[in-house]
């Protein structure tokens, strides 16, 4: 069988770009992935042929737009194995979904309650909970990260208690690549009476995710990291839990009937989707999900795992390079590293001069950076279109970099 990148590369128009005199080597998909032609064309076709507002437009285009928008929900439902279509709420992205949850759940918290997060969370899964805690008098606790880059599970057991009302944790670390045992942790947290929120932003792009198997109450991810457009994300909520959750954002679409002094909320999922939704983005998301399904997520996972194994091995072999994250077992399709004597931004700038796009800095995970005693790291991340040759190019470019400035 053809290697995945050989099959997919022609589908990504942006890969034809030349950057600083070199063919683009895009190793920043964990920040935002590139888009296959089918996604770009689906969105253009929608704007050229079918655009109108959804749900209340009684005309042909309005009906087409509504059907396309709601089809996206069905496609996403199938993609993540959700039992009910009304469990799929469209948001603007992972950050938006986490804020929505922290707002809505935050209203039910009281002084003395505890929100349990982890030290490896993205700021998006820290700040909204800090805000909810400040408003309610609840406290935020964090599960520490071990030197090996995994969650301290003994500490988790100690921190989980009768006061824990929320467990919010990432499925895959955006810095370390660690794949957390979310099903086990969510099961234990739910047994202790907590609501469980999983940040799937770095998991859904790279592995088959069957949400019901994870035993969580909420799961959020972004469209733009799974080959889809920016501006749309998904919040999956267990139906029975979503039913009990009060919406915190009002407007059109989220109501059934309105009086001047009160209103009746709409059914799920529209109750949580006030205003005109990201329609073209939903159309793009459908195309992205269909593209990934056609490749097969198991194959996507194997490809990412293979590139990551190669990158970890090649970079760890360089004496001036430190590689972060678990060294055994599988990890997300990314590798964070630092080069002795060089600031991560300078590493990224030096690599960019050779056409290699990587991420550098704190990766919106400053508490985690402090665990490892660094200001930031450089991160290479992989997608379906990246090749083993590009990983070799990265390792070659990093070689000898510490004397380059």
């Amino acid at each position: 069988m053809m290697r995945l990148d050989e099959q997919t590369r022609p589908d990504f128009p942006i890969l034809e770009r030349v950057v600083n005199g070199h063919p683009l080597t895009y190793l920043d998909s964990a920040a935002s992935s590139q888009k296959p032609r089918t996604v770009i064309e689906a969105m253009a076709r929608y704007y050229e042929r079918s655009h109108a507002n959804v749900h209340r437009s009684i005309h042909t285009l309005g009906e087409e737009a509504t059907e396309l928008y709601e089809t996206a929900r069905d496609r996403v439902q199938r993609f993540v194995g959700a039992e009910h279509r009304e469990e799929i709420v469209f948001t603007r992205g992972t950050t938006d979904g986490l804020n929505l949850l922290a707002d809505a759940v935050g209203h039910t918290l009281r002084a003395g309650d505890e929100i349990l997060i982890t030290e490896m969370e993205h700021h998006s899964n820290i700040i909204p909970w800090q805000m909810a805690a400040r408003a309610s008098g609840a406290a935020v606790r964090a599960v520490p990260v071990t030197a090996g880059g995994t969650l301290d599970l003994e500490a988790f057991a100690r921190l989980l208690g009768p006061r824990t009302r929320v467990l919010a944790l990432t499925h895959v670390s955006n810095v370390l690549g660690t794949i957390n045992p979310v099903a086990d942790l969510c099961r234990r947290a739910r047994a202790a009476g907590a609501l469980t929120v999983v940040d799937g932003a770095q998991a859904v792009p790279h592995m088959p995710v069957d949400i019901p198997l994870l035993d969580c109450d909420f799961y959020v991810f972004s469209g733009h990291k799974i080959l889809g457009p920016t501006g749309i994300g998904v919040l999956w909520g267990r139906r029975a839990v979503l039913e009990r959750l009060e919406p915190t954002r009002g407007g059109g679409e989220m109501i059934k009937e309105v009086w001047l002094d009160h209103a009746q909320w709409n059914d799920l999922p529209w109750r949580f989707e006030p205003g005109t939704p990201p329609i073209a983005e939903a159309v793009g998301l459908t195309a992205a999900v269909e593209y990934l399904e056609k490749l097969g997520m198991e194959r996507v996972r194997e490809h990412g795992a293979e590139l990551t194994r190669q990158a970890v091995e090649a970079l760890a072999a360089l004496p001036e390079v430190i590689v972060y994250g678990p060294r055994t077992g599988e990890r997300g399709a990314l590798v964070s590293f630092s080069v002795a004597g060089l600031h991560p931004h300078d590493v990224a700038a030096l690599l960019d001069a050779e056409g290699i796009a990587v991420r550098a800095g704190h990766h919106c995970a400053q508490p985690l950076m402090r665990c490892f005693g660094v200001v930031g790291t450089t991160r290479a991340s992989f997608s379906v279109f990246n090749s083993p040759g590009e990983v070799t190019r990265l390792a070659t470019a990093v070689t000898g970099l510490s004397s380059a400035l």
């Binding site: 600031h343 300078d346 700038a349 550098a360 800095g361 704190h362 200001v375 000898g400 400035l405």
Partner: protein, 126 residues
């Protein structure tokens, strides 16, 4: 394979030289003003120490955990304002620093240049 020697120089010679051998980096034991700030984009941190003496900056030193551009900028800022009257030091602009750095700084990295200036402003404001 691209060897180290073939790598085109990045940032320009002034930045590289000041990154390798900063002239004003270090502690200042008798500092009368100290300020520190971070770049929210990257977490870079610059600490500026100033010994104010009779209305002028007798000595200026910096410490920081920062990239080459930011380090070079802090070094240039410290050097340029040392010996100046307070008002003249406060009037230092990003243009003045860029003139010394002699580098084409991209918009995404301009904050690396201006962070030391922000910290200088904080130090002088007391």
């Amino acid at each position: 394979m691209t060897g180290v020697a073939e790598r085109p120089p990045l940032y320009g010679e002034v930045i590289r030289e000041r990154w390798r051998r900063p002239r004003r980096r270090g502690e200042l034991a008798d500092a009368t003003r100290v300020a520190e700030d971070v770049n929210p984009l990257c977490g870079d941190r610059v600490r500026l120490m100033v010994a104010l003496d009779d209305g002028h900056l007798r000595a200026v030193r910096f410490l920081g955990d920062s990239c080459a551009i930011c380090t070079a900028s802090a070094d240039v800022v410290a050097e340029l304002v040392e010996g100046r009257e307070t008002a003249a030091a406060a009037a230092l602009t990003a243009r003045d620093v860029l003139d010394v750095l002699q580098a084409d700084i991209r918009p995404t990295r301009m904050r690396c240049v201006t962070l030391p200036l922000t910290v200088l402003g904080q130090a002088l404001a007391g």
